[in-house]
Structure formats: C-alpha cells, structure tokens
Symmetry: C2
Subunit: 362 residues, 2 copies
Amino acid sequence: MNAAPTVYDVAERSGVSIATVSRVYRSPDSVRAATRERVLAAARELGYVPSGNARGLASRSTGVLGLCFPDYSDPDTVGAEDDDAAMLYSDQIIRGMERAARRHGYALLIAASLEGGPENLVAKVAGRVDGFAVLARTVPTEELEVISRRRPVVMLAGPRAQDPSLDHLDHVEVANEDGQYQLTRHLLDDHGLRRLAYVGFAEDSPDVEARFRGFQRACREAGAEVGDRPALRMPMMTRAEGAHAADLLCSGPGERPEAFLFANDQMAVGALQALERRGLRVPDDVVVTGFDGIPLSRLVRPALTTVRQPMVRLGEKAVELLVRRLTGEREADPVSLMLPVGLARRASCGCADEENTASADI
Amino acid sequence: MNAAPTVYDVAERSGVSIATVSRVYRSPDSVRAATRERVLAAARELGYVPSGNARGLASRSTGVLGLCFPDYSDPDTVGAEDDDAAMLYSDQIIRGMERAARRHGYALLIAASLEGGPENLVAKVAGRVDGFAVLARTVPTEELEVISRRRPVVMLAGPRAQDPSLDHLDHVEVANEDGQYQLTRHLLDDHGLRRLAYVGFAEDSPDVEARFRGFQRACREAGAEVGDRPALRMPMMTRAEGAHAADLLCSGPGERPEAFLFANDQMAVGALQALERRGLRVPDDVVVTGFDGIPLSRLVRPALTTVRQPMVRLGEKAVELLVRRLTGEREADPVSLMLPVGLARRASCGCADEENTASADI
DNA sequence: CCCTAGCATGAATGCGCTTTCATTCTCTTC
DNA sequence: GAAGAGAATGAAAGCGCATTCATGCTAGGG
C-alpha cells in the first residue's frame, strides 16, 4: 500500500507526457491508438487508479450525487422491527436514486444525519458531490441554505419548504393528501360506509398530517361526520400500536366504526391481527385500510387495501431534477413535483384484488 | 451558482491567511477563539463550503468508504417482486455499512455494477474512496486486483476468493453451510424426521451451494438418505417457484417427504401458501423451513423456521475491517471472518416460537 | 518537392486545500 | 523589565489531475 502511482508514473513509464495520459482517460479518441495502448499497458502494470479527488479538483465536478436521510435506527432495538416503514422508505429511495444516478453516470454518496456521527458529516458530503438530495427535513435550514447557494439541492418528501430562504429549491413529494382522499372516497362512495375512524399521529410528520387532511376533506365532501383530529393518535405507528388501536376502537364506547383507516400499513397489519384474535372478520365486520403499500400489505390475509407510495420513483425523480440542473437549466425556476400515488383496492375493504389478479400464487 | 467561494475568499474577508482558515476547520483548537469566530462568520456570509476534492487531494484521504453491489433489478419488472431477497440483502448491507461508517466518521459511496451504467463506474468509485467493499463477485478479478493494490478492499459474502491474486484481501462471509447444517440436524435429531427434501439451486450461487452442503453433511452424519443434488432446483428461487416446488413434491411419485427445506425464505413462503391450498397442515402434515430470516418469515402463519443471516452485521464488519486497515494495521495478514448465523425455531417445524415470545402481538 | 491544414503531443498553469517550517505574539518567570 | 518558552499565525510548497496554448508531425494539394 505504498504511494499510489500517478499520472506522472504512468507517463514516464510509457514515454509520454502526463497530458497524454490524462487524455487517454478523458478523450481516448484524441490519442493515437498505438500511444493509447502503451499508456494503458503501463497503467495496468503499475496498478494505476486515477484519483477522483484530483480529477474532481481540476475539472470542478465529482460525478457523484448525494443523499441525506434521517437515521431512524435505534441501535438498541435494532432488529426489533426490521421492516420499520421509515427504513423501507430510505431503502427504496436509495435504490431509486442509485439506479437513476448510475444511468446518468453518477455514483451515489449517502449519509444519514442526526446523532451517531460527527456533526460535520453533512458538510463533508455536501463538499464532495455535484448535487444533493435531502430527505424530509434532515438538514438544518441554515446549513441547507448555504449549500444550496453552490450546488443544486432537491428536497424530497414533506411539504415544500416554507422557509423563504429555501424556496428556490426543487422539491418532490408524494400526493399524500390526495391518496388518502381517494381511499376515503372509495370507502364512502363505493362501499357506502359512513362511520370511519382515522388512526395516525398528525403532529409530527407533515406527510401523516397531509393524509389526515385528505381524510377530512373526503368526509366533509361526502357529508360524513369527521372530527378535527384523528380518532386515535399513536406516536410510533408500529404494528403493536395498530393492534392496540384496533382493540381500543372495538371496546370503546358507542357504536364500533365501520372502517379503520390507518396512517400506515404497519398499524393496519397489527389491527388485522388484533381483529382476528377478537373473532372479527375483515372486511365483513369491519373494514381496514393502510397507507404506503409496503410488500407485506399484499401478503397479509386479507390483503390490505392501501395507498401505494412510489418511493423508488421519488428517488429517480430527484436524480432527474439534479441532473437537469447540472446540465444546462441551472437558473430555471424551481420545480415542485407531486408524484401521484396509486390506490390498491384489495380484500380488506371488500374489493377483489384488482392489482394482482395475475399472480394467482398469493 | 457562480464561482463558489474558496479559502482565499474567506481568508481575505476575515483578514487572515488561508492556513488559518484551514486550521479553523481541521483543528479548531489551534486557533484563537476570536480569530476563529471571525473566520466562521466570514465563511457563513460567503456561503463557503469546503471542497471535498481539494481537501482529499491535499490530505490524501477522502473520508469515504465505497460499496459495490450487484444490480439485480430488472427495470422491466420493477415492483413485481418488491421484496426480492437479493435486494433485501443489498439494502441491509448498505444500512449496516452506512451506520458503521458514520460512527467512524465516514460517508458511504455506493454503486451497483454490471449493466445499466458506464463501465468505468467502478473505477470512478474506487478512485474516490479510502476503502472499498465488494459484494459477491461484483467486480472483475483483474480490476479488483489493481484496486486492492492501493486501497483496502474487503470482499463480502460468497466464499473466500480462490484467485491467488486476491488472497490478500480481507473477507467476510456468513456461515451458510453451518446454518443449514444446524437446521437440518434440528429436524433430524429434535423432530426425528427422516425423509427430507432440499429445494434450491446449487449451481449459480456459492452461498446456496454451501447451504446444500450443510444439508448433505447433516443427513450423512445422521444416517439419513441424501442425494448429491437438491431434490428440486428452482432457478429464480421466487415465491412462485416455492409454491410450484411444493406442488411437485406433494404430487410426485413415492412417499411425500416429511420436510421441505428451502434454500431461501421466499420459496418457503410460497410453499406455505401452496400447501394451505392443498389442505395440508404445517407442521403437522409436513414441515417447511427457509433460509435468510427476512422480516416476512416471522409474519407468515405458521411462522417460518429459518436461519437468520446477519446482513446488517456483515456490512458493519466490512466497515470495521476497512477502518482497521485504514488506521494502522495496513500490512497485517488478511482476515477471513465467518459470521455465525442464528437458528430461528418457529412454528413451521413444530417448535414454539423461541425467539419472539415477548412480542405477543404477532 | 514545398507549403499548409489539421492532428497528435508536450509544457505549463491552476483547481482549493493541507501541511511543514519559519516567524511573530503573548505570556510567564526571575 | 528582560529573556525565554510556547502559542498563534503566515509563507510556500505541493497533492494529482484537466486544460489551454504552443509546437512538432503527418498528409494532402499544388
């Protein structure tokens, strides 16, 4: 692991100048074939690997896109809830970004923010990429503002930044409000349900908040009764809490709601299990719906009616926007996209499984 | 997006030399507090973001670790099998590496290899990182050899490199053989089963091959009959194929095996469903086991007895090894680790769920 | 056979930062 | 109050590459 060979070493060994070595890599066609072969041979023998740093410094671009996402992992309970929805989110966005980035010739640099690492990790990442995607409100506004003055930044998920210092940023989100609206209308209109209970936690997350607003709007438009807050508010939105919520809703005072609408699939799955234990049949006795469209939602019995979020596409869109900024339209107006979601009508609301009839194996 | 400010700009604005500006970031304590504040203020006003490239070039280290993983995604069928085991693998390893890397102050640069992007992406990544992890045989031997001459490289999963040019690399794998051995012995010894059918595809993947060897060894040691190849070989190891395999095993000639051992959880889950359709009860009529320990394995009914692979830990181990090479023991002997796997005895083999009794909600 | 256009190559500069090494400042101590 | 030690700062030299400009070279036209 002694000093790595440089262009100088390769140049000397192949009897050319460093400029030619550089050209062999950057624009092979501008070098005579014979020369090129000599250089490549020398490079191979020496074990030459071009320094990305030097290259980036000289050419003022790194060929790397960055992503900052929140770290939801609690090191103590790792593995306890493997399929935590938030993690699945990050995973899918990472996948989408990586794939899209690769298609455009970029690599992807990722770093979760918040605790667990040196504070400056974000700055470090920012200094090493050509463009930068930020998931939710992962990065402090001020820091983000500084970064965005020098590199394209796109904000993912969550609502468009309120802060005026950030309103020049591109932004992509998922139609949470609309998705929950559609799902609710489906229950109201197509299934004729009236007494709906929404379970979520509207405070903390703008996404969940938007979903609840969609629920409210649908109810109001259809003339169904609706409160100004969810029937139940579960802080972690885990499977266990979903089960708990189902129990509460069943044993609570008054008539049992006809449908339980959960703010995510995790809780809905938990509810399914709790209801089964109580001997209640879904969807005959009570309808249950989720939100997110995690793989599990299709596998539980009955299959869960839910709203599918295109997280992979979110990542892809982010890359598209960044690449666009990086090639040309640098000064164009900020873009704000709302990715459409898909309603998955499945058995848990009483629908036949409309999206998956082909694969009869499940 | 005009020319980004540099140390020179910050230095000028705060009336110090560039050396001092640099010190403010690298070793804040070596600068008088008053000076430091002036510099930071100037930096903030200017929107200064240190160039990772320049920093890396000057200090000969990037603070970034890299990971190359295979791209299993088929762009056409994206979403068809969201929870493809191979993808889950990558995701978990990425998660493990990212987390561990962050703890050590590193960011993570990822790039899937193979088709779908410029050929040189691997080289690009290699040139930008301090250390490098390679999943399976993602990178061509020759290329890997060149890279490994200059940076620490650790190979993940799969067997230790056979190629002598790579035998100086660190290596981490999962105890596939041992895991399947233990699981098989459990069925043989604890449950007294004798007629076992193994379903996998031993050719392509060394991991799956190792699992089958574990199965064979257990059978031989216990005096059970065992062939020199799996009872059935499914190329994709999907859920659908698992269901198909179960059907074949049930309707095949001769007595039905007492247990179906699948080389992954996907197939086992498919089998569970196929068996249910056939009216066969698991584990009473037939025992089913999987391999991997994906989240779903715990959620199906009956819960799947399987072998848990510590993929997150694999990623963490990779980082540990890289960091170790990066700090000191550069020339130590190559390390080859075999991460222990865990047997998850659950309902599908007739065991009570021994690992999950606490969370009664599932 | 000479001249010129065009191509292949080389010399030199700078990208933005870190890092000695030398220098200046600031105290402490007698 | 002077001398010295140690802390704070500055000057300057790269780090490894891309790139411009200048130059040598080849080939084609006259």
